[in-house]
């Protein structure tokens, strides 16, 4: 039996909603099939007030083991580093985070806010938000760069806005069933099994990417969303087109550009009108090219691909 505690900091509950929609395995499977004891969760926990404080104190004192500490949302430090803007169970949430992270066998950050700071940490960051071990791309975050949980791992980052339901439950099951040592993490402490390939991997529009045929409007079934509509699929590490959402779709499959939400810089855009969902260019060339491709190579590739493209690439091949 592995004890799991899930707390929320500066969060919208999106990752909780995602978690509760998990299917393989489901949140119920965690309890019934994998022996995970969910001590408390903001949407599922029964304890309130003093009873919750007792539970938390039992964990921080070591009276009760904490095997998996899951945190959703940012660590809120405002105002002036006190954390008083986000109080929980009688004290600033950030103080609970400090104490619980010390006793946890594994600490798991779920969603962009807990991993990198996400939208709340976007400048000017009025809530003085941080991720658990990163602030955007900067290593450190609230717990500091040197932090390791009792099992010897740094914070396991499962980013996304929200994280896919199954990324969450599969990582939780891996650590709960003693396979934590098998987890291989990338430079941003994301499990490589999910975050090595790109969002573009498995995208149904790859043929349109290859032949440089652009979608010009949302929801179009033909055309690549990278060229004009700001899709970040070629630069974003996620399995969104391998492990589908609701088992059947993804943003790009539905004609919606990838927003790059598993990368530390998310939300990327300065949010000024005309910058969101628009590929940012310099003299007509995208500022962000597919990873590993330079401008000169990109222009040559485009000319060759266009010249070689077959007629069907210009048609809506999904219409029967």
């Amino acid at each position: 039996m592995a004890n799991l505690l899930w707390l929320q900091g500066g969060a919208c509950s999106g990752n909780t909603m995602s978690f509760l929609n998990a299917e393989e395995p489901s949140a119920c499977d965690l309890v019934t099939d994998f022996g995970i004891n969910i001590l408390w969760h903001p949407s599922l926990g029964l304890e309130l007030g003093e009873n919750l404080q007792k539970l938390l104190n039992a964990l921080t004192s070591g009276q009760m083991p904490l095997d998996i500490f899951v945190f959703e949302g940012t660590v809120v430090n405002a105002p002036k580093g006190t954390g008083e803007w986000n109080r929980f169970a009688g004290r600033p949430m950030k103080d609970w985070v400090s104490d619980l992270a010390k006793v946890a066998s594994y600490t798991v950050a779920i969603g962009d806010c807990a991993t990198w700071g996400g939208i709340p940490a976007t400048a000017p960051n009025p809530s003085e938000s941080q991720g658990l071990q990163f602030l955007k791309r900067q290593h450190g975050g609230y717990l500091g760069a040197a932090y390791k949980s009792k099992a010897g791992l740094p914070v396991i980052n499962v980013p996304g806005c929200p994280a896919h339901p199954d990324w969450i439950t599969q990582i939780v099951v891996a650590v709960a069933t003693g396979r934590g040592a098998d987890l291989s993490l990338d430079e941003f402490q994301r499990p490589k099994t999910f975050f090595t390939s790109f969002t573009q991997t498995g995208c149904t529009r790859n043929m349109h990417f290859a032949y440089k045929v652009s979608a010009t409007e949302y929801g179009q079934r033909k055309g690549c969303l990278f060229y004009d509509l700001g899709c970040r699929g070629p630069m974003t590490h996620s399995p969104c087109n391998r492990i589908l959402w609701n088992r059947q779709s993804s943003k790009t499959r539905a004609g919606m550009p990838c927003m790059g939400c598993t990368e530390p810089e998310f939300p990327f855009f300065d949010l000024a009108p005309g910058t969101v969902f628009k590929t940012q260019t310099l003299m007509g060339v995208p500022k962000d090219l597919p990873q590993g491709v330079d401008k000169s190579g990109y222009i040559k590739l485009t000319a060759a691909a266009k010249a070689a493209s077959p007629a069907w690439a210009e048609n809506d091949i999904f219409v029967v």
Binding site: K212, T281, I299, K306
Partner: protein, 103 residues
Amino acid sequence: MASENGAVLKSIADMLANGLKTEVEPFPETDKEFAEILLQLRQLDPKDLESKLVIGGFLDHPYGPDRQRCLECMYYLVHRRWCDLPELSVPVDPDWWCRLWRI
């Protein structure tokens, strides 16, 4: 349809060959500037070909040190020889260029 497109293509080619002055500069470096040109195009009668060419900054030859052409532009459909940018939607030649060129 093909012959109709051919006629429009010839009409555009004739206008450009006859020295139609188009707004090649300034090139829209930012998306805000790009969007402003699109806005001007949206206000036109879709059949107002000459104004489309002028505002779009059309040239009947490649442009710039990189010799940019419609052929490489994301909006160009090779087989239809067509500009698929909704605000333009005109037949074009692969060796032409306009200031809405994007790759």
